[in-house]
């Protein structure tokens, strides 16, 4: 005889389960194991955080000196991973990944390798760009010249390694290799820019064996990060490169569909943003494309192309919230309609005094508000709505040290921070620091 439970008992059980889930959720620590955090979404779900920044600034838990680089830190399993480089002579550098204890900042291990930045745009050739990707017991690290390592998280020993130039005849574009490796099941997906037809290469994440390669390298690989989206009843690997937005089957590399989108100078930098059936790409010179993803099969159509007032972002990844897009464009924070690309508002209040069209900020959603790191080194807490930009709080977090095209515009901070375990971890060309965002 099966045990029959009363309806009341069942409701009690459900309520208890909900309470348990809610309780665990509010207490759950959240890592930041890759570019833009879990799922590459730029979303941080932790609660129990400050409502406003302290007048005296955030409490810095630790600071550790590092060398130069744009790559953002990643956080997983109590460790902070970050890459940097130091110039040895001319364009020769030593690149490095260093791993710190998340709680204390103590160096746990590091690994170095030689690289030559000859041929890169040297004003910006400071160090690695790609954020490390942590998956279980391996961390995947990519240097600016295409050195790819799979390292054991525990001690930095090499599980396997590749060199995009030597192994795949890649030509590294002017601003370096930038695409953080993407773990998908047993695969590690990389933007290698190799030959022949090896713009994208998937490796066995544990052995480094090549699983598939895809897309011609007749054109540069661009600088956008690969993402995986669920649409049309299947998982699609989205690769945005200077001639198209390409959807691939992540398990085989087969091209599902491509939407042509020619991008001058190959500057495909902001990450593609999916929101429901929409997929947004934005560039500085060529504006935006909003794609409509087919709901029944892997396919897409162009919903709108955007006019001169539509998103024109050079670095910053925009965000989509409901029916609106928010992001940097022409140096200003702007809002547009998802359905049409029509501009709703714009403001210079996020980065006051900054008139350059390249002004950049990084957005991370936390509940109904955003943490925004500006290129001035400020951390801003704000709400964004079709009505406008509402700043809640602002504090100066880190000195901007990245050069800005040798023009008299001052230095900038163009490294995406990590948000993990109630802290923000951010680096510039001199230091990495961890500051608390926990509510007292």
């Amino acid at each position: 005889m099966s045990a029959q439970r009363s309806p009341g008992h069942r409701i009690t059980e459900i309520i208890a389960a909900c309470l348990l889930v809610a309780s665990t959720s509010s207490l759950r620590a959240e890592d930041w194991p890759q570019w833009r955090g879990n799922g590459r979404l730029g979303v941080w779900n932790e609660t129990g955080l400050v409502d406003r920044f302290p007048e005296t600034g955030l409490k810095v838990i630790w600071r550790v000196p590092v060398n130069a680089g744009y790559s953002g830190p990643a956080v997983a399993g109590g460790r902070v991973f970050v890459t940097d480089a130091r110039r040895t002579s001319g364009s020769r550098v030593v690149e490095r990944v260093l791993v710190l204890d998340e709680r204390t900042g103590k160096m746990l291990w590091s690994k170095e390798w030689d690289a030559n930045y000859s041929g890169l745009e040297m004003t910006f050739a400071l160090g690695p760009r790609a954020t490390p990707t942590i998956d279980d017991d391996l961390v995947y690290v990519l240097g600016a010249m295409g050195h790819l390592f799979a390292l054991n998280v525990k001690d930095g020993s090499v599980a396997w390694q590749k060199n995009f130039v030597d192994d795949f005849d890649a030509t590294i574009p002017s601003w370096g290799a930038t695409a953080a490796p993407l773990v998908d099941g047993d695969r590690l997906i990389t933007i290698a820019g190799g030959e022949p037809d090896a713009k994208v290469i998937a490796f066995n994440k544990r052995t480094g064996a090549e699983l598939w390669r895809a897309l011609s390298s007749d054109w540069e690989p661009g600088y956008a990060q690969p993402i995986i989206v669920e649409a049309g009843g299947t998982r699609q690997l989205m690769i945005w490169h200077p001639t198209a937005i390409s959807s691939l089957d992540p398990s085989t590399g087969r091209v599902f569909w491509e939407v042509p989108f020619q991008v001058d100078l190959g500057i495909t930098v902001p990450t593609l943003v999916q929101s429901g059936p929409h997929l947004l790409a934005t560039t500085f010179y060529n504006g935006a494309r909003m794609l409509k993803l087919d709901e029944q099969r892997p396919a897409a159509t162009v919903l709108w192309r955007g006019d001169s007032f539509s998103p024109h972002s050079i670095i910053s990844t925009p965000i989509v919230q409901g029916d609106y897009i928010y992001g940097m464009s022409q140096g200003q924070l702007q809002c547009w309609e998802v359905a049409t690309g029509k501009q709703v508002w714009r403001t210079r209040d996020l980065i006051p005094g900054r008139t350059t069209p390249f002004a950049t900020a990084f957005f991370v959603r936390n509940g109904d508000r955003y943490f925004i790191n500006t290129e001035r080194g400020d951390l801003v807490m704000a709400r964004l709505s079709p009505e406008g930009y509402k700043e809640i709080s602002r504090t100066h977090l880190i000195e901007p040290t990245h050069p800005y095209a040798r023009e008299p515009q001052g230095t900038v901070h163009w490294s995406h921070p990590a948000y993990a375990n109630k802290h923000v971890i951010v680096r510039n060309d001199k230091e990495i620091l961890r500051a608390s965002l926990a509510q007292d």
């Binding site: 000859s118 041929g119 745009e121 295409g146 002017s174 054109w219 540069e220 001058d264």
Partner: protein, 534 residues
């Protein structure tokens, strides 16, 4: 001693300092300077009243309006520098320079005859220039170029100067260059750039003694070009209006593969491959402290003549001509005879083409960005890896070499070169925005006015051909110079008290001025956007 007397020396010093300060602040600004190039005033119209096919300058009304515009902008205190090839003294429908040696051109008397014909054919333009020169304190300076080097014959110069009817206001730059009174602006035509096929052996003495006296030297480039253009321009009048120089010949080759004589293929190939890359604007890249990727020149030489063909874009209209010549054994270029600099220039340009294709950046090379990218020349192992961004190295090397020659020439003329802030060229017909002389130097800046002609770039032509579904033959036969936008490039330097701020601007018949942007659209944008002269 009273306090007043004690303070007197101090008052005197203060007064002197103040006077100097006032005088300094009252130093009159420099003059307004406009530098135009490559008018190519030629034989005008034929007996039928139609323009001769070889006549490039058909813009009398536009030119008069332009002169009024710069006269107004300079308020009657303008230096107009015509920076070479003002007179077309090479291409002539009358075979009146009869030296037996093809390396010799006109005598002084023969060249004077050609000038007289140009004066007769373009009396209205010369009258407008004369009126401009006579107004206010305006001045007109003619810098000789390769097409009017004969102006360096005294009798030819006198005939030319007299045609303006502006005594004391017109001068020929007999030193072969023009230097502003303050020494800040230097202008020369540009044909003396090292390796230029139109360069004279000696400059500004472009003369060679023949059996019957002194004659203008005919450069190898000129001998080839005149033969080709004399034959092709009657069929394709637009040929010479394609910037940059020589580009029109590729369309002719595609329209009629037999249009290029067999013996022209090899010199044309070398001209296209060793084309100075100094027209390219330079990007903001580094402080000059970078190890550039290096070509493996031995490997390049080992690869044989095929490497030359491979250095053209796969879809270059000249490529099939060269491939054919290779197949038939008509190319006899021994790569061992090419200098390292020539090979580096070729490989740099090939890398520029590759980058232009791979990152959709047509302004670098004026090449279409569609189609396959060429491969690079082989690199040394140590410098493999990144995209090759150093193709302007050849441009830097070239311009710097020329500038060193200029410094030497100026020193010989007892003129200082340290104060030069602007170096202006013409000659290529392709305008180029100001860029520093080399990566390591902030000044002077180098720029190119383009031609005061209606010109069209290859990628503008491609757009027209695509829009109208034209073949190369259609385009060459149907497009006439008059169909091109009335848009003419000049170097524009407003009066300055600090450093001159040169710009490349385009006068347009709609009365507006276009500025040359440093972006992919280049000249096309300048001829459709822009703003008023003020």
């Amino acid at each position: 001693m009273s306090t007043a007397r004690a303070l007197l020396p101090a008052f005197v010093v203060i007064a002197i300092v103040a006077t100097i300060a006032v005088l300094d602040s009252q130093t009159p600004p420099s003059r307004f300077v406009v530098i135009a190039s490559d008018l190519h005033l030629g034989g005008g119209k034929g007996a039928s009243g139609e323009w001769l096919p070889t006549e490039d300058f058909r813009w009398q009304d536009d030119f008069a309006s332009f002169l009024r515009g710069i006269d107004e902008a300079g308020r009657g205190a303008t230096d107009l520098v015509l920076n070479g090839d003002t007179f077309e003294l090479l291409q002539s429908t009358i075979d009146d320079c009869r030296a037996r040696d093809p390396r010799l051109g006109c005598t002084e008397q023969e060249a004077r005859g050609r000038v007289e014909r140009v004066v007769a054919a373009h009396s209205a333009e010369l009258a407008a220039l004369g009126a401009f020169a006579r107004n206010g304190t305006n001045r007109l300076i003619l810098v000789p170029g390769d097409h009017d080097a004969a102006l360096l014959f005294p009798a030819v110069a006198a005939t030319a100067i007299a045609s303006f009817n502006a005594p004391g206001r017109v001068e020929i730059a007999t030193r072969g260059y023009w230097l502003s009174a303050d020494g800040a602006i230097y202008a020369e035509h540009g044909h003396q750039m090292p390796g230029d096929p139109y360069a004279f052996t000696a400059w500004p003495q472009p003369f060679v003694r023949g059996d019957d006296g002194m004659r203008v030297e005919r450069s190898a480039g000129e001998r080839l070009a005149q033969q080709l253009y004399n034959e092709l321009e009657p069929r394709f009048p637009i040929l010479d209006n394609v910037a940059q120089e020589g580009a029109g010949l590729k369309y002719a080759a595609a329209a009629d593969p037999m249009s290029l004589p067999a013996d022209a293929v090899q010199p044309l190939l070398m001209f296209f491959l060793a084309r100075p890359t100094w027209q390219q604007f330079r990007l903001e890249l580094d402080g000059g402290d970078v190890e550039s990727p290096e070509w493996d020149l031995e490997a390049v030489r080992r690869s044989g003549a095929a490497v030359l063909a491979e250095s053209l874009l796969p879809d270059d209209r000249f490529r099939s001509v060269v491939d054919g010549a290779l197949r038939e054994g008509r190319l006899s270029i021994d790569l061992a005879t090419l200098t390292d600099k020539q090979l580096i220039a070729m490989c740099d340009y090939r890398a520029a083409l590759r980058r232009s294709r791979r990152r959709l950046e047509r302004s670098m090379t004026q090449a279409s960005t569609t189609g396959r990218a060429p491969s690079e020349c082989p690199r040394t192992m140590a410098t493999r890896g990144s995209a090759f961004d150093y193709f302007w190295r050849s441009r830097d090397d070239l311009v710097m070499s020329r500038f060193e020659q200029v410094r030497t020439a100026l020193a010989a003329d007892s003129r200082a070169s340290q104060s030069i802030k602007v170096v202006a060229f013409g000659h290529t017909h392709l305008p180029a925005a100001p860029v520093p002389l080399t990566r390591n130097e902030a000044t002077p800046v180098v720029l190119n006015s383009g031609a005061w002609q209606r010109t069209v770039t290859p990628f503008q032509i491609e757009e027209v051909m695509q829009e109208r579904s034209w073949t190369e033959g259609d385009m060459l036969r149907q497009l006439r110079p008059e169909d091109l936008p009335a848009c003419y490039g000049v170097v524009w330097i407003e009066p300055y008290s600090g450093d001159p701020k040169p710009r490349v601007r385009f006068w347009r018949s709609d009365g507006r001025w276009g500025n040359l942007p440093r972006d992919a659209a280049g000249m096309a944008t300048a001829c459709s956007g822009g703003g008023p002269a003020a």
